[in-house]
């Protein structure tokens, strides 16, 4: 087991270098560059200014030199300064946005598991019942409805018509003058709609997944045996079936690790949430190479670690894998 984990760990840096090289080349295939934002169609940006900026960002060097420099800096975990007009450190930019994205994603993922797993179990046990059908339609509606549209409708209802919830942002303007409980309540009100919406879209996948796992499990002989033993349905379903049906969910959890830090662009834009999705999108549009590379590397690292964790978790949960 330990050897397996070590072997996997050794491969990670190699894969990271490969991923970063591919990403680096891909960014440079796109037309335009970090200077375009300030210089395109700007009568005041002279040729001399362009040249100076190209040197300022080190873009006058050949690509392999640029990549080499980046790699050397990266090896000391220095992401470097962003190419964006603000020129701030990439690590600072990522750091201030991670808490926001992480909070929303953890909450919405919690919501998904909390709601989707019971729905999945119940629809499997009562297959083709009314509950099964209605929940199927509902979760698929949630999956199919464009988030931005639903978000706007909910904003109009709760924000403008009823005035119960704030429309966008993370805290209200008076936030700093509120009491501790007041601040907590203020934040919760701001997070409610984003978390609900982020979760709503994910319900379909998770609940369907749970349902099909469950259906497979309850067809097994040992479930029949448990029933034959005279156990109550509740115990059969929760004790014997659900436990086994939950196993594959571990894989999903592992694969979701990188999602915890990846934000959704449209969603964050609508709710004016300064999260990772917006940051990445702006970085790509402005050809902000250090920022894009920084986020990609973090994402790649988390994906690799997540996969590893999922494998390890699986092995721990299922003795057949561990020993075999």
């Amino acid at each position: 087991m330990l050897r397996y984990v070590i072997r996997r760990l050794v491969v990670i840096p190699v894969m990271l270098v490969g991923i970063s090289l591919l990403s680096f080349l891909a960014i440079h295939l796109a037309p335009g560059g970090p200077i375009s934002v300030a210089a395109d169609l700007n009568p005041k940006a002279t040729a001399e200014y362009r040249e100076r900026m190209v040197r300022y960002y080190g873009l006058d060097q050949p690509l392999h030199v640029q990549y080499g420099r980046w790699l050397v800096r990266m090896s000391t975990l220095d992401f470097g300064p962003s190419f964006a007009p603000d020129g701030r450190q990439v690590s600072d930019k990522i750091k201030e946005r991670i808490p926001v994205t992480l909070t929303i994603n953890v909450l919405s993922m919690g919501l998904i598991f909390l709601v989707a797993i019971p729905i999945g179990i119940y629809s499997a046990v009562r297959k083709d019942s009314w509950f099964d059908r209605i929940s199927t339609v509902t979760v698929f509606t949630g999956f199919a409805v464009p988030t931005f549209w639903l978000a706007l409708l909910l904003m109009i209802l709760f924000g403008v018509k009823l005035g119960w919830l704030p429309i966008s942002g993370l805290v209200s303007l008076e936030h700093d003058s509120l009491s501790l409980a007041g601040r907590f309540w203020d934040r919760a009100r701001h997070l409610l709609l984003p978390v609900l919406l982020a979760g709503f879209g994910g319900l379909a996948g998770m609940s369907r997944y749970m349902r099909s796992n469950m259906l497979e499990v309850i067809r097994q002989d040992y479930i029949a045996a448990a029933k034959a033993k005279g156990l109550g349905e509740r115990q059969v379903v929760l004790r014997h079936a659900t436990r086994n049906a939950l196993l594959p969910v571990i894989t999903i959890l592992g694969l979701s690790v990188p999602d915890l830090l990846g934000g959704a662009v449209i969603f964050e834009t609508i709710f004016a949430i300064p999260g990772m999705g917006q940051l990445f999108y702006q970085g790509v549009m402005a050809r902000d190479v250090p920022l894009v590379m920084g986020i990609l590397v973090i994402g790649a690292f988390l994906t690799l670690i997540g996969n590893l964790l999922a494998d390890v978790g699986y092995a721990l949960a299922d003795p057949r894998i561990r020993t075999g």
Binding site: R52, P166, G169
Partner: protein, 552 residues
């Protein structure tokens, strides 16, 4: 409607402006509605906050090293230049009390205001101006605005309140360039690159009407009134700019009270804000913005080389239909590169009224005859071309679609291709790989447009994309920027507009209106040629109507 009645009651006492308010209740608020409002309630009072919504976050506080409008807007609360534009777009003194230009136009002497202090109470002197100048020409400063400062031969400061700038040749746009925000020498001296200094990122210190409070990237920027501002303490105590990237969210935030002001789209202005409830809470304003949209031709293209063809296209385009269709009527036709009302705007240039018959006649004159399918043909070639524009700009793509129909009516087939911005500029515009394009220029109050029209500015990174070359225009452009004499400049630019109208290197289409909306509690907003922001420090909220009262 209840609030409306209340207004009428209040107004009985001030009968003079009653009709304005009546009109405001019954129909649309237009320019000047703010004037009536000023007398409506109580005297100017200090306090309250105004909350703006901005699509983009700022990138820094020092305008020398930023180039986006959000950053420049934010900096305008905290910093001053030596000169600025007044409400009628004439230059006036800001940190400079006055200035003189020597008779040969090569020397400008600025007399600085005395008793001005930086926000940290250090006095402002000519040393700060000298420092700003040195930073602007320093190769280590990554500024896009260095060019006009490099034209300077010498700057001297004989005493703390005088700055003398000398040029090799008179250079009229130079005066405007001294509107550049002046930087505090005592705080920036130790940083070789001002872009990386804390003043640009976390702790700006200026001389302006507001002081910096906080910046939460991606979230908001906050300023408080500077009680020691040299033109008096601003009435509104706090300015908050919230970063809200989505236009629909902005509008909902406005309606729910989360922000106090935004710029409406033409659709929102004309269709979504006509409810009684909206009118009871907000005032809409409209004024012509410094932007125009054009259809530009690559002038060495075999079709467009012929002036008569360009004129024929001008006659086929119905600008009124464009404005109605794209802007819901909230714009004006333009005939040249200056906005109507600007001091160099020439109203008497050749015009091209919508006239398909005349267009066809011009095309016939140039040798184009209708073919079997109705498309114009010449030497066996059909008149078909592609117009390029950038994706993500709805008004430009709509403009293209309407022009496509209008040109089809005279037998010209136009294809439309929209491209992502960077690809559009780098792969097509800079490489001159286009037949025609729809783009816009945002022009300023300074009339010098050397970079756009000079025949020397046709390189890949330069802005005369269409390849316009006219010896007389070249001469007039030079003349216009080499004199400070307004009458001489006006004459040069009038003639340039005549030539451009005759030559039609662009079909100048329309200028959209800026459509800001403000919560009704704000008074003193008076649209002028310069827009509305010029008298911001005089805006106020009457005591009884103040919304945010937790600070003063």
């Amino acid at each position: 409607m209840r609030r409306c009645l209340l207004h009428l009651a209040v107004f009985a006492a001030f009968a003079a402006a009653g009709s304005v308010i009546l009109a405001g209740c019954a129909g649309e608020k237009k320019d000047g509605a703010g004037k009536g409002a000023a007398g409506e309630a109580g005297p100017p009072a200090y306090g309250d906050a105004i909350v703006y919504g901005s699509n983009g976050d700022i990138s820094g506080f020092l305008t020398a090293v930023t180039s986006d409008s959000a950053s420049h807007d934010a900096a305008s609360y905290m910093f001053n230049g030596l000169v600025r534009y007044d409400k009628n777009l004439k230059l006036e003194g800001e940190l400079a009390e006055s200035w003189e230009i020597s008779p040969d136009g090569k020397k400008i002497t600025f007399h600085l205001r005395k008793g001005v202090a930086w926000h940290d109470n250090v006095p402002f002197t000519s040393g700060d101006v000298m420092f700003t100048y040195k930073k602007m020409i320093d190769p280590k400063t990554p500024t896009p605005y260095g060019e006009s400062f490099r034209q300077v031969r010498r700057v001297t400061d004989p005493d703390p309140y005088t700055v003398i700038v000398e040029y090799d040749k008179p250079y009229a746009p130079a005066l405007e360039s001294w509107g550049m925000n002046i930087l505090p020498r005592h705080l920036l001296e130790k940083y070789p690159d001002i872009k990386q200094s804390p003043l640009n990122k976390s702790s700006p210190v200026g001389t302006g009407p507001y002081r910096f409070v906080e910046w939460k990237p991606g979230e908001k920027i906050v300023f408080d009134a500077n009680p020691g501002y040299f033109e008096g303490k601003p009435f509104i105590s706090r300015v908050v700019t919230r970063v809200i990237p989505d236009q629909a969210t902005l509008f909902l935030e406005l309606k729910s009270g989360g922000i106090d002001t935004m710029t409406l789209t033409p659709l929102q202005y004309s269709k979504q804000t006509e409810t009684g409830e909206f009118r009871n809470n907000f005032r809409k304003y409209r004024y012509l913005s410094f932007v125009y949209t054009y259809l530009g031709f690559r002038l060495d293209h075999p079709f467009f080389r012929d002036k008569r063809v360009r004129q024929a296209i001008a006659h086929s385009i119905d600008k009124k239909e464009l404005i109605d269709g794209v802007l819901f009527g909230l714009g004006r036709e333009v005939t040249g590169p200056y906005k109507p009302g600007h001091w160099v705007y020439n109203p008497d240039v050749r015009k091209y009224p919508h006239d398909p018959a005349k267009a066809k006649a011009f095309l016939a004159e140039a040798g184009w005859k209708p073919g079997a399918d109705g498309t114009m043909e010449k030497d066996g070639r059909k008149f078909a071309f592609t117009v390029l524009t950038n994706a993500g700009n709805e008004s430009r793509s709509k403009t293209a679609a309407i022009i496509q129909q209008q040109l089809a009516a005279v037998g010209i087939r136009m294809e439309i291709r929209t491209l992502e911005w960077a690809a559009f500029i780098n792969e097509f515009v800079k490489k001159r790989k286009f037949d025609a394009l729809i783009l816009g220029w945002s022009t300023g109050p300074e009339p010098d447009q050397f970079d756009i029209w000079s025949s020397t500015k046709t390189g890949p990174d330069e802005l005369n994309h269409v390849g316009f070359a006219d010896a007389e225009v070249d001469r007039l452009l030079e003349e216009g920027r080499r004199t400070f004499d307004m009458e001489k400049r006006k004459k040069a630019y009038f003639r340039i507009q005549e030539i451009l109208a005759e030559e039609q290197p662009y079909v100048f289409l329309y200028a959209p209106e800026a459509l800001p909306v403000f919560h009704k509690r704000f008074r003193g907003i008076e649209p002028a040629p310069a827009g509305i922001g010029y008298n911001f420090i005089k805006w106020y909220v009457p005591g009884a109507e103040q919304k945010y009262t937790s600070f003063q």
